[in-house]
Amino acid sequence: MFERFTKDARAAVQGAVEVAERERSESIDTRHLVVTLASGAGHVPAALEACGLRPDDVAALARDAVRRGEVLDAEALAAVGIDLDEVSRRADETFGSGALDRAARRGTRRRKHWPFTADARKALELSLREAIRLGDKGIDDRHLLLGVLRSDCPGGRLLEAALHDAGSDVAALRTAAEREARAA
């Protein structure tokens, strides 16, 4: 699949690895990818702008989310009877505000290789399908964005929230990215 990636798409994935390295993340998820897609030299920044978002703001937002650490799986914890909100509240009482997020960041160790999370791999896979659906030969940064938007992942949720705040939505960004894809 990677041999079908364009230069922009490769740069975005490589950039995500570098973001993980700089921020000492445990793994690479779609938030890392959103940082590089929004600040890259590809077509994603224009698509974001078409939806009233400033690419720099989106990159900063994603970077902040990465810094807050890995996301605890609240849904999986709820399934075994653990209320993450309650655990968080009690941890904050003893250790100060945002304790669990802080603990994740401190817990990270230096790595040589950063694995992609399952949802990031899924998003990359979906980007291939988006390229096929649009009849494009190569996978570029717009297809990566569409892949992120299509999978249920932290990066996609972050974009969804940012779009909502800007008075836009995911459908509008998808349309903008597809239009960019056709124009290319």
Partner: protein, 69 residues
């Protein structure tokens, strides 16, 4: 969360959900361990005290937490 879902996930009816729950628990436990060990050290606990409380060797706890606390 209904009783049925809860039992389903906890009992590992579907391995995907069961393993996901185990992973989330481990992640949460790791974070709480980091916070608790750090606090214990600030309160003057020795590495041996911390190790005894966690039920692991002093070497293990020092290796895991020694560098950042």
């Amino acid at each position: 969360m209904t009783e049925k879902t809860l039992v389903g996930a906890a009992a590992g009816d579907d391995p995907t959900e069961g393993l996901r729950a185990v992973r989330a628990l481990r992640d949460l436990a790791d974070r709480l361990e980091t916070l608790q060990v750090e606090r214990a050290r600030q309160l003057g606990w020795s590495w041996q005290d911390v190790a005894d409380a966690l039920g692991v060797s002093k070497q293990a706890v020092h290796k895991k937490h020694g560098r950042r606390i």
